[in-house]
């Protein structure tokens, strides 16, 4: 099957520091891929390069047939980046809900402002998505009245309302109190079951093992291992992967 995401020879520098080194990876439609690795390994940067929140230094990114070369400038490039952003939804570690808008306004903001969708239709779609994350009853609340887990579920509904082809999750449970992690992971499992292509940067090994089709392990700006979770967690090839998994197993982060 044609991959829906195709990253080739991606380099990213922050100043003189190279944080991504010739990354090439493909993701098939409906696949759920978890990216794990120690902090500073480049996993978040890789994710943020896909929708150009970080401008890659070299290489190409292709999402659902839209191909963007790194380092180009001008109107054509900006249009391609915009098109890629329409294909990708993103969920952030810090939720980033808009505090001056109610929950429902947060969720319709993208469809109405970006796609020019009619408001009534956007509300209908938003209510559907809020219902599926279990928060329809909070639609008129403001974000500061929600718990962390609820905020993140609204953020997922907001991203889904743009009807993306791919969902990017950047450590979606890392800012949550331990007792709130489960509700967010459950929503993510539901999204995965509905056939969404997902890239998830995470520290939740249980989630990776249970839900992911593939797990990428990153270290020093490279993908050092790419395997099915059943293989990766039982027979890691790289000693660094083994060390990483052992650290999680002993409960140390």
């Amino acid at each position: 099957m044609m991959p829906i995401i195709q990253i080739s020879n991606l380099d990213k520098y922050f100043g003189r520091l190279q944080v991504l080194k010739k990354i090439s990876v493909e993701v098939a439609p409906r696949e759920v891929v978890c990216i794990i690795g120690r902090s500073g390994s480049g996993k978040s940067t890789l994710l943020r390069c896909i929708n150009f929140l970080e401008e890659p230094s070299f290489g190409t990114i292709e999402v659902d047939g839209i191909k963007v070369e790194a380092g180009e400038k001008g109107k054509g490039h900006r249009q391609l980046v915009h098109d890629i952003r329409l294909k990708t939804g993103m969920v952030f570690q810090e939720f980033n809900l808009f505090p001056h808008m109610s929950v429902i306004e947060n969720v319709i903001e993208g469809p109405v402002t970006v796609k020019g969708m009619n408001r009534a239709k956007a509300i209908e779609l938003a209510e559907e998505n809020l219902d599926s994350v279990g928060l329809l009853f909070k639609k008129d609340e403001y974000p500061n009245r929600l718990s962390g887990g609820q905020k993140q579920r609204v953020a997922i509904a907001r991203a889904l309302s743009m009807e993306p082809k791919v969902m990017l999750f950047d450590e979606p449970t890392s800012a949550l109190d331990p007792e709130l992690i489960g509700e967010v992971l459950n929503v993510m499992k539901k999204v995965a079951k509905e056939g969404m292509t997902m890239l998830v940067v995470t520290h939740e090994m249980g989630f990776a093992r249970e839900v992911a089709d593939r797990v990428l392990v990153m270290a020093d700006g490279e993908i050092i291992e790419d395997a099915k979770p059943s293989m990766l967690f039982t027979q890691p090839k790289d000693p660094r992967t083994k060390a990483l998994i052992d650290r999680y197993r002993t409960g140390e982060r």
Partner: protein, 265 residues
């Protein structure tokens, strides 16, 4: 027999409340005493012409409208300029950035008094004669705009980077992100300082009187004061009006601030 014993916490809380109440009462009494002393001074030891005061108070009060009018127009102009200057300061387009920093630097580097005279006295030499009120508003607006641009810039910078990122991830253009996400949040930070600026503006508008073209409170006070050599009385009247205006505006400013603080952040 006896009433239900109050808990320790309740007793402590009541004591605390009593103390706070007492403090407020004492402050109020002291204020009243200071005010009473002032009134006493002008009724006994310092001779003032109360007949003149009664006669000229309505004339000076006639300037309150003008003072307000200048202040409202000037603050409106200042807000527009401040917003443009703040956006320029955050812009990556060199000419726009340069224009903004140049404007702020020039205005903040020269006295307001000089700027007011520039528009009244210097421009006519170049053949540009502005109507008195218009020149005053231009001078005050330009001046306050430069200072307020810093407030706006701080407000815009205080909006979390994640807000911009999530707007961009949704596919918003930079302009949409600014309009829909960043500015509404930045304005919230900027509203209380803008209130302060407006209150200062009502008083700085007195400087415009120096040119003799705008008949606001200060101009009227100096005019009647000089004419009958009753400057002391005239200035007392003007000061009272400015003070009362400031007290009223401060009251509304405080209410606005409490409302914003309560609102959903």
């Amino acid at each position: 027999m006896s009433q239900i014993q109050k808990s320790q916490a309740e007793l402590l809380y009541e004591a605390q409340q009593r103390k706070a109440r007492q403090f407020r009462t004492n402050v109020a009494i002291s204020w009243a005493a200071l005010l009473g002393f002032l009134i006493f001074l002008f009724n006994g030891p310092i001779q003032i012409d109360s007949e003149f005061m009664k006669r000229s108070a309505p004339f000076i009060a006639g300037g309150i409208g003008q003072t307000f009018y200048i202040s409202v127009l000037s603050i409106g102009l200042a807000i527009c300029l401040a917003l443009l200057a703040a956006l320029g300061r955050l812009s990556t387009f060199p000419p726009f950035y340069a224009l903004s920093t140049f404007y702020v630097s020039l205005i903040r580097g020269t006295p307001l008094y000089l700027q007011i005279f520039f528009f009244f006295l210097a421009l006519p030499q170049l053949g540009i004669v502005l109507p008195g009120l218009f020149a005053g508003v231009l001078a005050l607006g330009l001046n306050y705009g430069a200072y307020m641009s810093e407030t706006f810039r701080a407000g815009i910078s205080s909006v979390n980077k994640g807000q911009r990122e999530s707007a961009m991830a949704l596919g918003m253009t930079p302009q949409q992100t600014m309009q829909r996400i960043v500015l509404p949040q930045a304005l919230r930070f900027a509203i209380p300082p803008m209130g302060n600026d407006f209150i200062s503006m009502t008083k700085d508008s007195a400087l415009v009187s120096a040119t003799g073209f705008v008949h606001e409170i200060m101009w009227r006070a100096t005019r009647v004061g000089r004419a009958e050599f009753n400057n002391l009385e005239a200035l007392i009247i003007a000061a009272t009006f400015y003070w009362i205006i400031t007290l009223i505006l401060t009251f509304f400013q405080n209410r606005l601030e409490t409302r914003l603080a309560k609102g959903d952040r």
